[in-house]
Symmetry: C2
Subunit: 286 residues, 2 copies
């Protein structure tokens, strides 16, 4: 596989950055994980917009425009002949002076790489075993909205899932509400309404989360942003997760408690897969 | 300058790590900044113990023992003929599978590097211009005790200090208490008592913080762990900061409000410098 690194396409084994890169020293950077299906990126612009907002928050100047970065990403996909994959875009602040001050760090590092994935179409939507983690996220944390390279809470939560042989861990915030998965946004169905925690609770502004809310509106399913406790989630008519790399995923159990199969979730999963297929396969068919 | 990288001593320009290192991807690592004076490390063991505790919390297996790492650090100092410097030790989880799960990442990356510093002895203790940052730290966050490579809140706080042409930014926690500086622990003097925020408020367990508390005990100065609001700090008889790279530093102003010169602080600074001198110059004199 080739990797894009600061303007060049290099082999994975040759893709090296300095030990003084602030991405390595402090996690001083941002990333995106973009689904590639049928050799094309799904919702690139939405990912770039979030990257741009995050860069603004961190006062990190993006060295490439939306179009420039997109073209390099497309070239990377093409050179690797990747049909179904996850594209990771990482922008770190690069090298600066010693210490936390970002002064002097004016040349960000740009890395893009691909990981092969399973094709979406026709695959039975996965049903994940989910646990709640002991790790707490700070309620209302502004940084949580962006995909920063500070992911230790998510790593620790995910490690708890690994220990339980679970597929994903849900995190509570410091107010005691279940807010998101380590790498997914949370949804649940209750009395025909599709609920998801509010952005203000301190969660990632997920691209797939927005797509799911759009799909619900198209399907005339009522949606609501709601704070939820674990007990309430266990009583839901159905629980599911959204994430760019997998799309939409059902939860079959929560902390060992079996969750019901909910037909609404199946319809959302199908609509999501259909949308990815349509948007990515479109041009190839012509 | 030479850098220690995974068992080898290499030139700074050649010290590269993979773009797939989890340190770069997620800030999945820990570091220490150790003062080097008279060509020797000050309080190495205390730094290593914190590193070890952090590694235990992150379930990251340290690839070198205390003695092994110390010997490599001493060799690095010797090879660079560094007399006064700051040694940075970074341990990241290395390369693993895609995603947050640490499974499969079994070979941590070890990096040590030096930055030249000013000698301590005889230098007039600096008096810093300090501001309070708008960034909030989660109260009671367990990860805060360790020096992890997730430092975006500290970077954002420090950037605010830069904007104000200040030397350091203090951070409040989500309970509204002032808890620490972006790269320092906080102390203040009130009615002859030296106060510092409690560890449980969600702060770094600073090595220099412990040394200062020890010095106060030796000087028979009463110490207390106290939660403090900004208004109370502004009324203190004196405010100072502790950090490994600088030692003990006075605060001459807080958010533009002049802080009093406090003789107790001067005595603590002098005692600290004396201690560093004694512990690091010891063997060389023989």
């Amino acid at each position: 596989m080739l990797v894009f690194l600061n303007g060049r396409f290099v082999r994975e084994t040759e893709a090296g950055i300095s030990v003084f890169d602030r991405g390595f020293l402090y996690g001083d950077g941002l990333f995106e994980a973009v689904r590639v299906a049928n050799g094309r990126m799904f919702r690139w612009t939405e990912h770039f917009v979030r990257l741009e907002k995050g860069a603004w928050h961190l006062k990190l100047r993006l060295p490439l425009s939306n179009e420039q970065l997109r073209r390099r990403a497309e070239e990377l996909i093409c050179r690797n002949a990747a049909m179904d994959a996850v594209l990771r875009v990482t922008i770190s602040r690069g090298i600066g002076q010693r210490g936390y001050s970002p002064q002097g760090a004016t040349r960000p590092t740009v890395v893009m790489s691909l990981t092969p994935a399973q094709p979406i179409r026709g695959k039975r939507p996965p049903q994940w075993k989910v646990i709640t983690s002991s790790v707490r996220l700070p309620a209302g944390e502004p940084l949580a909205m962006y995909k920063t390279c500070n992911k230790l809470p998510q790593i620790l939560a995910r490690a708890e899932a690994d220990l339980c042989e679970a597929d994903e861990a849900l995190l509570l915030n410091t107010d005691g509400f279940v807010v998101e998965g380590s790498s997914s946004n949370l949804f649940w169905v209750q009395r025909g309404v599709v609920h998801t925690p509010p952005l203000a609770s301190g969660i990632l502004q997920g691209v797939t989360r927005s797509v799911v809310l759009d799909i619900c509106r198209l399907m005339r399913l009522p949606t609501r942003e709601t704070n939820v406790k674990v007990a309430q989630l266990r009583r839901a008519a159905g629980v599911f997760l959204s994430l760019s790399s997998w799309g939409v995923v059902g939860a079959r159990s929560l902390d060992g408690h079996k969750l019901p199969d909910c037909p609404i979730i199946g319809s959302i999963l199908a609509a999501y897969e259909e949308l990815v297929w349509k948007e990515t396969a479109g041009r190839q068919k012509r």
